[in-house]
Symmetry: C2
Subunit: 410 residues, 2 copies
């Protein structure tokens, strides 16, 4: 397989700009902006089939969900919270100061986090979105999440993160509520977190009105293996990717056709025993297994696709990984399967998909900071550059700019 | 004036979500996506009243424009380019590596820069958008700019930045061309730079399809002065803000009513001598002059508004500035007037406006990088966290995730 063939594959997946869906979502946003809670109620009734009294979850309920969680699950979530905290602290930006120029970072004041729900519950997603915001030092974290028959695990995870502001509302309407504020949900400065198609469209439409992290689509992984790889481990890595949802997909690459055949054979042996075999079967139809003929062409492919996850289980992993420019996250070696990143390694599992890793990055503590320059010139530095600035001001015919500089040279 | 009154002022300015204009811009984008250069040609004819043969400016023309520029203007632009380079290098992010976790940055491959034109030419805007991309190490920089009767200054500035790919096309159609690619303009990974209302709408609509820097509106400044300030210098600072365009505005604040009165008086004396008096007169109608009663209320206002520019010409500037959390850029003292930032200080003058500084930052070198985590766990670290991860995987009923971890603990 060469770069061109791969490009074709990606071409197929490229979404349309999504403007059809957007027009519908615009109406939802306009309604929520105008009618606030009343619109939220009516859309929740329409889309979720329930008529909520209030949206806010009482903090006692979050605590009660935590208390009801078995001890080992609590401990697991708490341990993971600690890991994420440590990692996010490590990569947090620091202020710069060289006297005349400072560059300073401050946490955002109010952040909205969308936690998906509806069809499944992922306490890990709570930790992977909320903990980076906590580490940044965000003043207020407001979480919206659609209800589920039993949201207790989500609630318990929120309690572990110390979140007190939780609202059971989902979809584009929840995003609009966070962007403009309603009687029960405050306007926030930035909205983050993964969601369905309509949530993604609402986030696109509200970019600039509020801060938005990124627009993520179905999950994907590129796995590169050598012939000595543990076949069964790779099979489960592929199944793990596939069980997320039927649109997930895997690219399995190697220099060696035989190892690919062995992995495919073993997949066939094991697939029917998987609890989520139905989803896995649909999803593996999206997969691609291919021999790549050179290291160079492997790297060209990876950097072109910028896969959400890249797992390199190959004796030359270190050298290969040094040359990866674009990816959501890179996993090196046998003891860094993608599944450990989904839960516990430290970096958030909220990552760019569908080639957007070429310009965006996984959610992290720094997405919850904003920054600005402080300019404090000395008279000498000002004197050194004022003339050049005045020359350009003249050229741009901005005379008051010129005078504002000139007066200070006198 | 207290925080509440200020909030009212800002409420007035808050734009609607802009969906009316968006619907028209969607059509432009869809047309360009489908018909490429043909659509670009037809929109350029419709909106700019000219029928372009080709869009690409021959590189010889860029060079010729540079050669034609008077020596002092060339030198001024080159000196400024050097200043911007130095500053952007200083704040560039660096890779982190603690062994098991790396966090790495790479320059984007292809970037599109929108350089406004049409009614005026700003070589400074070329430098302030293109130089940060150069310093990041972007492979290809593609610049779009509407034509002007004489674009030579822009062309010369582009030549100084070493840009070779310049296309004379503007508006939403130019943004769409960069997002999807046409026969003559390549698809890029990210689009940056200020533009008019339609450019801003196109950037909002294409967020996620490509990277987008920010959505900026009319310019604004908050100036805080003490009673010893140089009155005439402040008058020119205000005029400099006002001469940009009729929607620009200034907030002039002090503890002292008398100094505000003196500044206003002097503005009246000088206004009719200003070459751009007509624009200034319209724009100063947007201004607000007010006494703030406490340091605390000043800071509450600044952090609420997050003004594009904050100029503190006050004996306690240092202490005040330490407490500013949100702003586009902060200018400290007499020798750092905002005009020096517009041209030559180093940070880009492309800054967030209209309260968006609460979640976004001025354009800089780091906006032209993307980043990802590399996870390389040792067997020990994996062993330490695998159990917690497996517990959560079970809880989420993702059995293949569980197996992918389990097999590696055996």
């Amino acid at each position: 397989m060469d770069a061109l063939e791969f490009r074709e594959i990606f071409q197929d997946r490229t979404e349309t700009a999504g403007f059809e869906g957007m027009r519908g979502v615009m109406e939802i946003i306009e309604d929520v902006r105008r009618d606030k809670d009343a619109a939220l109620r009516s859309y929740t009734e329409k889309f979720d089939g329930r008529a909520p009294g209030t949206f806010r979850v009482p903090p006692e309920k979050l605590k009660a969900s935590y208390d009801a969680l078995p001890e080992d699950r609590r401990r697991a979530l708490e341990k993971i919270r600690g890991r994420i905290e440590d990692y996010q602290r490590m990569i947090r930006y620091e202020d710069r100061d060289d006297g005349e120029f400072k560059y300073v970072y401050h946490p955002l004041e109010k952040v909205g986090v969308y936690v998906p729900g509806g069809t499944a519950l992922y306490p890990s997603s709570v930790l992977m979105t909320v903990v980076p915001a906590m580490v940044a030092g965000v003043d207020e974290i407001h979480v919206v999440t659609p209800t589920f028959e039993d949201s207790n695990i989500t609630f318990a995870a929120l309690h572990i993160c110390g979140v007190e502001n939780v609202y059971t509302v989902g979809g584009a309407q929840a995003v609009a509520a966070l962007a403009f504020g309603t009687e029960s949900i405050p306007k926030v400065d930035k909205i983050v977190g993964p969601g369905n198609y309509y949530v993604a469209l609402a986030k696109r439409l509200l970019f600039g009105e509020v801060g938005i992290d990124m627009i993520a689509g179905p999950s994907e992984i590129l796995i590169y293996v050598d012939e000595d790889v543990n076949v069964e481990a790779v099979v489960y890595d592929i199944f793990a990717q596939s069980e997320h949802d039927k649109n997930a997909r895997t690219f399995l690459l190697s220099e060696d056709q035989e190892i690919i055949d062995r992995i495919e054979d073993r997949m066939r042996d094991l697939i029917d025993r998987q609890p989520r075999a139905e989803i896995i079967k649909q999803s593996i139809d999206n997969n691609h297994y291919a021999v790549v003929d050179s290291r160079q062409s492997l790297l060209a492919l990876v950097n072109h696709i910028a896969p959400e996850h890249v797992s390199v289980q190959h004796r030359d992993a270190d050298m290969i990984i040094r040359n990866i420019k674009y990816a959501g996250a890179v996993f090196e070696g046998y003891y860094s399967p993608e599944a450990i990143g989904d839960y516990a390694a430290g970096p958030s599992h909220v990552l760019p998909t569908d080639r957007t890793g070429r310009f965006s990055h996984g959610l992290n503590v720094n997405d919850f900071l904003t920054s600005h320059a402080v300019i404090s010139l000395t008279e000498d530095t000002f004197g050194d550059i004022a003339e050049s600035a005045m020359t350009v001001a003249e050229q741009e015919q901005l005379d008051a700019h010129y005078q504002s500089l000139k007066i200070r040279t006198e």
